[in-house]
């Protein structure tokens, strides 16, 4: 009798568990508001990446086409796989002394691993991550970019303290 009882209780247990599973998918079927898909090419205008999104490395230029890169090459030293090449030149500054300026700041987007060491270690804080995410191109050579825009020069300004990213608000000290 025990096995007959177990036979039927197995059947009812099985049907009960299957019913619970059906309810979960049935719920989502009748609630189309739960759809999470983003319709990509149509929502490009509203798509906003987060502030810190690592899209690609850029050299920061202000509105007068000034940047702050002096060609020290620390980013090139820090890059683990050689995605940055610095070509410098000598040019006279305002006092007439020849100093090193940046000629070409070559960035290989195809090799970059987005580790962030170049941005973090730049002493003049001239590199940053932009939020561009559409990098697909048909020609691989387009992925090698020259970061300093034509005609831009280094901006000479008094030494400002390096800006710190906003931190989390003060919380209660740990007990």
């Amino acid at each position: 009798m025990n096995s007959v009882g177990k036979y039927f209780s197995d059947i009812f247990y099985g049907l009960k568990t299957l019913w619970k599973g059906l309810m979960v998918t049935g719920y989502y079927f009748v609630h189309p508001r739960q759809i999470v898909t983003e319709q990509y090419p149509e929502n490009r205008k509203e798509l906003q990446m987060f502030d810190r999104f690592k899209g690609e490395v850029i050299l920061k230029h202000d509105e007068n086409n000034f940047h702050t890169c002096n060609g020290c090459g620390i980013c090139q030293l820090n890059c683990p796989n050689g995605s940055i090449e610095i070509i410098t030149d000598m040019a006279p500054n305002e006092e007439g002394k020849p100093v090193r300026i940046i000629d070409k700041h070559i960035y290989h987007l195809s090799m970059c691993t987005f580790c962030g060491l170049c941005v973090k270690n730049c002493p003049s804080d001239s590199l940053a991550f932009s939020q561009a995410f559409e990098h697909a191109v048909f020609d691989r050579n387009k992925l090698t970019k020259i970061l300093n825009q034509p005609g831009s020069r280094i901006k000479k300004e008094p030494k400002a303290p390096k800006p710190v990213l906003e931190t989390a608000p003060k919380s209660n000290p740990a007990n």
């Binding site: 059947i11 299957l18 599973g21 059906l22 979960v24 998918t25 049935g26 989502y28 079927f29 189309p32 739960q34 759809i35 999470v36 898909t37 319709q39």
Partner: protein, 363 residues
């Protein structure tokens, strides 16, 4: 019967007399065959395509996503685009494959489902072939499909296909028993195998209500067994995508693959319409006993709408099963059939026979 306004048999009789007056009887017969054949072909193609679309949309909604919505408004032309793509693909011939069997296997699957559609009653008078052994005929022709599957697997000369086909053959042959016994329950209730008689006998209520508990048990078992028959849902081991690439139709490409694919969805339609006809009343509107007013209201909805509504409901349930449950392994599948479904079916049949003898059901 108050639904004479929707009676298609007047239309068909009119066409019949028109043809007979204008040509000799033989030619009229041949023309009728050609017309019916053409209608069924077009119907088959359209329903098959839109069932694929419906499945993709249903599964998308269950998975919190949108499904096809780019090709045409709401993605309605998506399957037609897929069909065009499949038609343009190269038909790869395999070295050392048995050419004759390899080529005829998809056709056998399609022929089996065509023959079954011929016997489905869509509405009063829209019934291509009204055998007096309707239920038996449907069971018999749908069993021809398994030959196509076995031939496909064997003639592909590939280990994966062979394994898939063998599994599928074992599965289909076992579950036919349960399907037959479940259908037999309604045959006992209504006393005839002819599909139109079964439908007429549901004029005062569908068998699933009139036959109370045993009929409900039969219905559930019919659903489970027929999902296994059509190689779908939790029983799709033969074409388990994540295990054996695509099972018995791995080596097929282009239009041959389209035939297998289409055949699977049409089999689903056939099985659903059989369930709707036998258990849920076919084209008969929902009548409750002798409530004249209620029945009269229900009769205003055309029978063909009732038929498609019920079929669509059963198709939805079959799709729901597929997208919720994990897959059964081959030995669990066979255990389910031989140790659970078959004994319960047999006991059910005996109970129903007893009930019919004692008259303990709503006549």
């Amino acid at each position: 019967m108050p639904f004479n306004i929707y009676d298609f048999s007047t239309t068909t009789k009119a066409i019949d007399t028109f043809l007979k007056t204008n040509m000799s009887p033989t030619w009229a017969f041949v023309t009728e065959l050609a017309i019916v054949g053409l209608i069924i072909l077009i119907f088959y193609a359209i329903i098959g395509l839109y069932l694929v679309y419906a499945e993709r949309k249903v599964c998308a909604f269950m998975q919190n996503r949108v499904g096809p919505n780019r090709v045409g408004k709401w993605g309605l032309i998506q399957t037609i685009a897929d069909l065009i793509k499949l038609l343009m693909k190269e038909l790869i011939t395999i070295r050392k494959a048995d050419k004759l069997l390899f080529n005829i296997a998809p056709f056998i699957v399609i022929i089996a489902s065509f023959m079954a559609i011929a016997a489905i009653p869509f509405a009063k008078g829209l019934h291509a072939v009204d055998f007096n052994i309707g239920v038996f005929y449907m069971m018999a022709v749908s069993s021809i499909g398994v030959i196509g599957i076995l031939l496909a697997g064997w003639s592909s000369n590939s280990k994966y296909s062979l394994i898939g086909a063998m599994r599928s053959g074992a599965q289909v042959v076992s579950y036919e028993l349960s399907v037959g016994l479940a259908l037999l329950s309604v045959v006992i209730f209504s006393g005839s195998m002819q599909l139109s008689t079964i439908i007429e006998s549901q004029a005062n209520g569908w068998w699933i209500f009139k036959g109370h508990l045993p009929a409900i048990i039969s219905f559930v078992m019919f659903l489970i067994a027929s999902t296994a028959e059509i190689n779908r849902g939790p029983f799709d081991l033969a074409e388990a995508e994540s295990e054996l690439t695509a099972g018995f139709h791995t080596e097929y490409s282009g239009i041959r693959f389209a035939f297998f694919f289409l055949g699977e969805y049409m089999n689903m339609f056939i099985v659903a319409s059989l369930a709707a006809t036998v258990f849920l009343g076919g084209w008969m509107p929902l009548h409750i006993g002798n409530l004249e007013g209620f029945n009269h209201v229900m009769d205003f909805i055309p029978p063909i709408v009732w038929f498609f509504g019920k079929t669509i409901f059963v198709i939805y349930v079959i799709m729901w099963f597929k997208w919720t449950f994990p897959r059964l392994r081959i030995d669990q599948l066979l255990t389910l059939e031989w140790k659970y479904l078959l004994p319960i079916n047999l006991v059910n049949i005996i109970v129903i026979a007893f009930i019919v003898l004692m008259g303990w059901y709503i006549k």
